[in-house]
């Protein structure tokens, strides 16, 4: 904005500034970090410790009132590991996450690549549309989809019937958990695509033209260029997006909870809902905590590679 150069700096004054800077530099990062670290420590780190502690305790309504749990060792874990439903819930959550994340990444990237091919006005229209979808709050989105798949007056049933894909009049999508989860997948993928597309597109815009041109001159086909040039350059972005999507989809809660009127049948339990049910609905906070701990561990394993990748990138700079 203003002129960059600051003229009239003598060597002496510059040296002085240098040493002052060095002292400031040692303390500065810690000062800068303190506020954020304090908040994170208080509201994330401590509760995380509390969560692990509670998972080894009997923590019911009585303990909630007394503000103190009773140590029972690994009994909570033993109880959930011997519970057949728990493993069903784990499997269901895993499959659901894998499907949602794959679809989100593939479709999101495809649309980002499409953005490069279309005319300027289409690109602006599509980007605006994506931003619009991105802006829709999750609870709003749930209500829209709930309305679209309504068994009586929903537009989905009418359209599918008109397309002669079968008789969908009064078809209840949530009667069968498979089609029910199909709706949830659509809802989540639809909501997640904008973020992925816009981020990948931003990354694509950073790929140097010369590289792409050089590859094209060398006779590489578009797909080969994408795979050999673009993809490796965008790998960090993909790793970040994939892991974030895993994190977000694995803990799916509100979509199912609100869509099914806060009363999902056990066919619809994901790990988050199961933990919530155990703690807030039957007041077994210790059991809920144990499930939550397993959930945290799952997600940590899934993102360990990501963490390593991120650290590597962090170290470079």
């Amino acid at each position: 904005m203003a002129s960059v150069a600051e003229s009239g700096v003598t060597p002496a004054s510059r040296r002085r500034r240098f040493s002052r800077r060095r002292v400031g530099q040692a303390a500065a990062p810690y000062v800068l970090l303190t506020p954020a670290a304090a908040v994170i420590g208080l509201v994330l780190a401590y509760p995380l410790y509390l969560l692990v502690k509670m998972s080894f305790e009997k923590y019911g309504l009585f303990e909630l009132i007394r503000h103190k749990g009773r140590w029972i060792g690994t009994a909570n874990y033993a109880s959930i590991f011997h519970d057949g439903e728990f493993w069903h819930v784990v499997l269901r959550t895993l499959v659901f996450t894998i499907v949602c994340v794959s679809l989100t990444m593939v479709l999101g990237t495809a649309i980002a690549l499409l953005l490069l091919q279309v005319s300027r006005w289409v690109r602006i229209a599509l980007t605006t549309g994506l931003v619009l979808v991105w802006a829709v709050p999750v609870i709003v989105a749930v209500n829209i989809w709930r309305w679209m798949v309504d068994y009586q007056f929903g537009v989905a049933n009418w359209t599918l019937t008109k397309l002669h894909l079968g008789d969908f009049a009064r078809h209840d999508w949530f009667a069968n958990p498979w089609t029910g989860f199909g709706v949830f997948t659509l809802l989540i993928v639809w909501g997640a695509i904008p973020f992925v597309t816009i981020t990948v597109y931003a990354g694509l815009a950073q790929v140097p033209h010369e590289l792409l041109e050089a590859a094209a001159i060398d006779g590489a086909r578009p797909w080969a260029i994408f795979r050999e040039v673009t993809l490796p350059l965008l790998k960090p972005i993909f790793v970040i997006l994939t892991s974030l999507s895993i994190i977000w989809d694995f803990q799916v809660f509100q979509q199912i909870w609100v869509m099914l009127d806060a009363r999902p049948s056990s066919d619809y339990y994901t790990m988050a809902i199961y933990a919530f049910h155990q703690s807030f609905q039957i007041s077994e906070y210790g059991l809920g905590a144990a499930i939550a701990v397993v959930m945290v561990l799952f997600m940590f394993m899934a993102t360990l590679i990501y963490l390593r990748q991120m650290l590597r990138t962090g170290e470079v700079n």
């Binding site: 208080l42 994330l44 309305w147 945290v296």
Partner: protein, 295 residues
């Protein structure tokens, strides 16, 4: 800022010696595909808005009315006269504003430390920042509830604000750090070689370049705080203290399948986010294309 005006679309395969008409046909094909994708993506939003303007008999019809031919506002008046609507609006505004401002300041300071300094403990902090992103909110609800009830912050907006702040911070720090690293070191260094102080270089070089990053981060914080449901749902019991999203979710259960007012309420709840997005849309687009200094 205006020096970078428009960056031309990046052709993946630049035309070597392809006939002009064929190229134009291909472009038209891509455009059609783009418009189809647009229609599919935007349809649910359109369906919400058009339902909100339809009279009841158009909504409850077995053949969908694609365009509201007799638009009415009664659904909106029904929605805003619903109990606790204005309380919810007020609460949501308070929570969102405080979270955006605080998270921007805290995240920016932390991101600055992580991106521009090397210091002892930097790596552990990065691990913590990345790690806490992975902690599922739904899992932390349990101990948070215990903790908040001990410090008497259940059913209080302040408690919710602190929790939101924490869940926004890791991503905000990480995003801003990315933007900070994206600014070429050479720019800053050349300013410093030219005699500017570190602070001067920061104010004149870094801050203007960070505009898109700050916008992106505040958008993120805004969306998170405005749209969050679980924490508000679990922690705010009193109807007067609930945020809009909880209001909207309870609206559903109270009125059953009264779709018109529900869609009107949903439209109203998304309006601030959408307006906010439209206002900064140009800046987002700018940030997306102007990030291309690298390479």
């Amino acid at each position: 800022m205006s020096s970078v005006t428009q960056i031309a679309p990046t052709p993946v395969a630049p035309a070597v010696t392809r006939p002009r008409s064929r190229k134009r046909l291909r472009k038209a094909g891509w455009n059609v595909l783009g418009l189809i994708v647009l229609a599919v993506m935007v349809f649910p939003v359109y369906w919400m808005v058009s339902t909100a303007f339809k009279p009841g008999h158009d909504i409850l019809s077995y053949t969908p009315q694609w365009i509201p031919t007799h638009p009415v506002l009664s659904n909106f008046t029904d929605a805003i006269h619903q109990q606790f609507f204005w309380n919810a609006v007020k609460n949501s505004l308070i929570v969102t504003t405080v979270v955006v401002v605080l998270s921007l300041v805290l995240a920016f300071l932390a991101a600055l430390a992580l991106a521009k300094f090397s210091f002892y403990g930097r790596k552990p902090f990065i691990v913590v920042i990345l790690g806490v992103q992975m902690v599922p909110l739904a899992a932390l609800i349990i101990p948070l509830y215990i903790l908040m009830s001990r410090v008497h912050q259940v059913d209080k907006l302040s408690g919710v604000i602190v929790m939101y702040l924490t869940f926004v911070l890791p991503f905000a720090v990480w995003t801003l750090r990315g933007f900070l690293l994206g600014v070429p070191k050479e720019l800053e260094e050349s300013a410093m070689v030219d005699g500017a102080t570190r602070f001067g270089a920061f104010v004149r070089i870094l801050l203007p370049l960070l505009g898109p990053g700050l916008v992106a981060t505040s958008i993120f914080a805004f969306i998170q705080a405005w749209n969050e449901f679980i924490i508000a749902y679990v922690f705010l019991h009193t109807p007067e203290k609930q945020t809009l999203m909880v209001w909207l979710a309870s609206f559903t259960t109270l009125r059953g399948t009264d779709w018109g007012p529900l869609m009107a309420g949903a439209t109203l709840c998304s309006l601030p986010v959408i307006v906010f997005f439209v206002l900064v849309q140009r800046k987002i687009a700018f940030g997306l294309t102007a990030g291309a200094v690298k390479g």
